[in-house]
Structure formats: C-alpha cells, structure tokens
Amino acid sequence: MTDRRRINGPPSGTRPAVFASSLKSASSISTGRPRRQRQPDELRKIFLKTGLIPSASGSAYLEFEPSASLAAARSNPQSLIPPSSALKLACTVHGPKPLPRSASFSPNVVLTTHVKYAPFAARQRKGHIRDASERDLGVHLETALRGVIVAERWPKSGLDITITILEAEDDRWWGDAPDSHDAPWGMMNVLAGCITAASAAIADARIDCLDLVAGGVAAIVSDESAEGETSTPKLMLDTDPAEHKSILSACVVAYMPSRDEITELWLKGDHSKASLGTTDQSLNHESLIDGAVNAARGAHTVLAEAVKESAERFAGLSTGANTV
C-alpha cells in the first residue's frame, strides 16, 4: 500500500557515488568489510536510559555501541558511505488507561505494540505506513511482553507501547551484492533491542511484571578468513550482520532470568550444513538458543541498572515533593 497523502521522496534513496579512482583496488572493497573486534561471546555495550519522554507514563532510549570500524571511518574517512550502523531506538509506554466506551469488556489489560522505523532509519528508505516487516516485529514484541506483564491487574484498560527505530542494524554489509544473503538478519537485532527497551519502559511506567525480560541474539556465522576462504562456522553472540559474510542461522529470545523462562523465541536459518561440515556437535539449535539466552543475560544486567536508576529518580521525586 503506498502513501498517497504526502509527497514522498523516491522510494529507494540515491546513494553517494563510489568513484573508481577513490578505490585503491577492487580488493580494497572486499577487505573494506568491517571486522568483528569482539570475542565471540562478547556483547556490544548498551546505552539504556529511562524517563526521557515526560509526557509518556514510561519511556526508554536504547543505543548499541557503534562498531570500531565506524569510529575509525569517522576519524579517517575513506568513503562517503558509513561502513556499518548501530541500533538506536526510543520506546514509549502510554497507560494503563481506560479503554474507550465502545470497546468490549476485557478482563485483562489490552496490550498494543507498534514498531515503526523512521523513514531514515535504514539505508533503504522506509515509508510512513508500516510495512509487513514492521507489523511482524510488532507481533513478536507483543508475544514477548504479554507473557511478562501481570495482565489481570488492569481489567478494562489498555496499554500502548510504541517504538520508534531511529537507526536500524544493517541486514548485510553495504558492499555485498543484495542477493548474497538477503534475509533480514538486522531485524533480529532490532527485535532484541525492542524487547530490552520496552521492558525498561514498562518498568519505568511502574507496571507489574513477573521479571525484567531482556532480548538477546546469537547466530551461527561462517566468516571469511584473511585468505578469503570461508572458515568453519562458529557460534557468536550479538552479531552485527555487517561484519559477517554469511550468517547461517540466527536466534532471538526474550528471556526472564529469575524464572529461567523464554517468552519469545524466533529462530531462523538453515544450520544443518554447519554441523555437517565439522565434527563439532555444538552447532545445533539448542546451543543457538542457549547462546541467545546468554546474550539476554548480558543485556539484563544493563536493564537492571537502568531500572534501578529509574526507581531512584522516582523516589527522589516523591521525597522532593514531600519536603516542598
């Protein structure tokens, strides 16, 4: 469905031209791919802050640490195209608020999730109307959160969770041909970020939950080594799709550490070849899920800190109001 009410720009934005003279050789392109500088089980740093939007009952802002290659490219630009992008998103929670009079009775809180990419969030411009992938993300997020919120404490009320993605993860490195691996791997990182941020925002809105649910991503990737050959597949946590030539399989979970339970699981990709090639039996779906759970555990520590900060601010506000 196209947006007919506004005058839109071209559906696919134009890219800055890459002049052949600015490239030292064709091989500089293949080596231009950002490299993962972290250990396989090392996560990117997460910035998470609550309470940034005063008009909402709860809000959170989440940012992933940009990869080292981006920082290097900014200080010493080789090309106009940034080598990678990092996730930035804002989440607001409105409610619990009464349902409109026309709505039918609901014994539980009616949860509505709305995930939207900003038009400039990805390299390919997104329209103003939510497309299928954004709706899909919304359903995933709803599943993840509905298991956590104690819904029967707010009968006849609604809870709206809105996420705006300001900068999205890349699905692949920009220099790769679009058919090399076209699956939207970046969406999985985006979903993990959405879950973590929404969890912080819900806690910031003081809505009762069973636990703080955190999102985590793990993937089985087969990287190219320095000689250009693909090496044996490896399990990595918190993968940046731009840094890997081929991602075989990836998994997102929404995980509650204190109950050791998963509320949302999304695994996709074909990793059967990974376990065929090697004798390593650890490259199966179970280790992938365990890896994602470990990544979620890491995100949970950040989440707990952010929620603590939110609670302290709230306590400070209430004592401040008493003294005045």
Partner: protein, 387 residues
C-alpha cells in the same frame, strides 16, 4: 476494534468458560499422556481431504479441508521477470569476478549468479473477517514465507540436487538477467475456527509440490524462450521419476510448518480450537527434507502468543462471596492483590510467564527425531496423488 485486535494475535476462542478451560487443561496435562477432546493421540493429526491441481489457470494449486469444515485453497502463479541488479552491486561483483578469473583461470566466475533473491517469492493470505494488513495474516504469511526462502539445499552432490542448488531461490533463477517470480496466494474459505497455520501450511506445501514451470528452450544468457507444451513442463520441486515410494535418495521438498503446543508436561500436535485455548506454549516449527542429509532440517521456530493469556480467571470457592466461603480478610486480600492467590486445583488461571528451555528441546525432539512427527507428515503429504 480492540476485541478484533486481540483476536488477531491469538485465535478466536474467548467464549470458553473458566470451568471448561480448567477441565480441558487438567485432562490435557495428565501425567500418563493427554486425553484430547476428540480422542486423538498426542501426535495424531486431524483427518483431512486433499486434492491438487484444481485450478487450471495456475501453475500449481491445492485444496485441503479438515473434517470440521475449515477449507483452504492455494494457487501458485509464476511470472518471468527481469532481474534488477543494483548498480554498485553490479560493479563490485564484476570486479570480483574479474579478480576471480585472474586468480583461478575463470573457475568460479558464475557462482555469484546462482543465488536468488528472497523477495521473488510473494505470499498473501486472505482470511475472512481480517483485513490484509491485520496482524494475523501478516504474521502467518511471514511465518510461512520465511522457511520457503530460507531453505538452501546442498551444492549439488547427488541426483536432483543440482537443480535445487540454492534452494527455492536458486531454482527461480533462469539466467543472469531473468528470473521467475512466484506468487503464492492463500485463501481460507471458512472462518478461522482454530489457529489456521497447520491447514494453510499443508495446503501451501501441496500446491508447491504440484507447481510446474514451463520447460526452458533457450540456453544460457539468451532471452528466455519456453516450450509451449504444458505436458513437457517441469516440476518446481523435482520429483523422482520412479514414483514417490522410492525413498532411497531423498528429494528436496517444500518446508512444512507444524503447530506444536505444550500443556503441563505434555506435547500435543495439531491442536484444535479447544486445545490451543489452554496451551502453555504454542510453537510453530518449520522443517524440510533435503537431498544431502537423511534427517529433517529445522528451518525456523517462532513462538505464537498463546490465547490462554487472554482468558478470564476462575474464582475459587474460598474467594467467592456467593458460596459463603469468603471471609472479610480473604476479600480484603483479593481486593488489594487479586493475582497473588496461589493456584487452586480445578480453578482456571490464565497462563503467565514463558516456557522452559527443556520444554522447547522436548518439542523439537519430537518433531525432528527419526521416525518423528515431521517425517510422518512429509511422508503422508508425499502420498497425495499429484499431477
């Protein structure tokens, strides 16, 4: 509108009373195996009727009907389309190939072109009572499209494997400049009485099995030119010439998505409407069969929001004023904190929380193991007369 919205992520099963839900849950979570309302075993599917090639105007079609009256029709249409290659990708890949040629004397120059693009497969699902941008149709179509474009077969080390190198995406490539675009249109003819995923997935599988593409007469990088004899057309998923029963060499098959629920410690397949209403966990697991491994391949897993989270809780006798069991203190406690009351046997509580990892592992094992449900389903579908 909110009722519609809630019904979109779960199925429409809100009209079961807490007492009924509790009865169902208890009988399905029995430790010696579940007792299902329709008497099936935990891994048994509902009886269904299926036929293929029912629509002459399509490349492939199928109809599946369950005994409860739900029916679905799938039509697959294919169109030839010019491959659009983004300018910078073209440049880069050309440079890459030149380099390749220089390196190994033109050994692997054409390798890049055998990959297809996932967006060449389009799926649309129409369910009565839902708009096409509602959450349920969007979620279902993404759930079924994902394993289709994801399945990548091994790089041609066996008969039939050559054609399916690169999976369905690779099969759609005609040459560097042309490709097939596949439209899969799913039509649910009846109201969605239960969660329609198993029905739609089985129908799509059969439709893809019966899909034929015209035989290509042109060669290499020429503009495509096809044989106009429909009898010479080739199956999209190649079928073994000596009949489907010969399964010594496994054929690549379209993926099939199974709906699995867990109730208590039990795992149940193909749940009907009543069973899914009390499920603790609902998983959609997509599997396929490949030529280069004898087991099943797992392609995707998604959790589906179980509708049991939306149900109304029952009230136990000790809290109920009408049964004289209520004391002032209990009432007070219920007022201040209505949900911390512990589980009373026989009183329905909406499910909360998630699923343990060992439960997921158990569900997946039942699907994937040798002689498990996944193989059984694929074998059963193979038995449907195609063509």
């Amino acid at each position: 509108m909110t009722a519609q919205r809630q019904a979109s992520s779960a199925s429409q099963s809100l009209l079961i009373s807490p007492a009924e839900l509790s009865y169902l849950y208890t009988s399905l979570s029995l430790p010696d195996g579940p007792i299902r309302p329709d008497g099936r075993s935990p891994t048994q599917f509902r009886p269904l009727t299926a036929e293929t090639d029912i629509l002459p105007g399509t490349n492939g079609s199928a109809r599946v009907g369950f005994a409860d009256g739900t029916q679905a029709i799938v039509g697959v249409k294919a169109e030839v389309e010019k491959t659009v290659v983004a300018a910078e990708a073209l440049n880069l890949s050309q440079q890459q190939t030149q380099e390749d040629y220089a390196d190994n004397e033109g050994g692997e120059g054409q390798k890049t072109s055998s990959h297809g693009h996932g967006s060449w497969v389009q799926m649309s699902i129409e369910i009565p009572g839902f708009r096409d941008d509602d959450a349920l149709p969007v979620f279902l179509s993404e759930m079924m499209r994902e394993p289709l474009v994801e399945s990548v077969a091994g790089a041609g080390d066996g008969m039939g494997g050559d054609e399916m190198a690169g999976g369905l995406k690779g099969r759609l490539v005609i040459n560097k400049r042309w490709h097939w675009r596949l439209y899969i249109d799913v039509l649910l003819l009846s109201q969605p009485l239960s969660y329609p995923l198993p029905l739609l997935s089985l129908t799509t599988h059969l439709a893809l099995l019966s899909t034929k593409l015209p035989k290509l007469k042109s060669k290499g990088e020429e503009d495509p030119f096809f044989d106009d004899d429909w009898n010479a057309a080739e199956y999209l998923y190649p079928r073994s010439p000596s009949g489907p029963r010969l399964s010594s060499t496994k054929q690549v098959r379209p993926p099939v998505t199974l709906l699995v629920i867990s109730v208590g410690d039990n795992v149940i397949f193909d749940p009907n409407r009543e069973e899914i209403a009390v499920a603790d966990t609902v998983l959609a697991v997509s599997v396929t069969q490949d030529s280069d491994s004898d087991g099943l391949k797992l392609l995707s897993i998604r959790t589906v929001d179980p509708p049991s989270r939306l149900t109304q809780p029952g009230v136990s006798n000790s809290e109920n004023v009408a049964t004289l069991g209520s004391t002032a203190a209990a009432e007070e406690a219920a007022m201040t904190d209505p949900s911390t009351g512990e589980e009373v046997a026989g009183v329905w509580r909406p499910r909360r929380g998630g699923v343990k990892r060992r439960t997921i592992a158990k569900m997946l094992k039942l699907v994937l193991q040798k002689g498990g449900v996944g193989e059984e389903v694929l074998e059963g579908l193979e038995g449907v007369q195609v063509g």
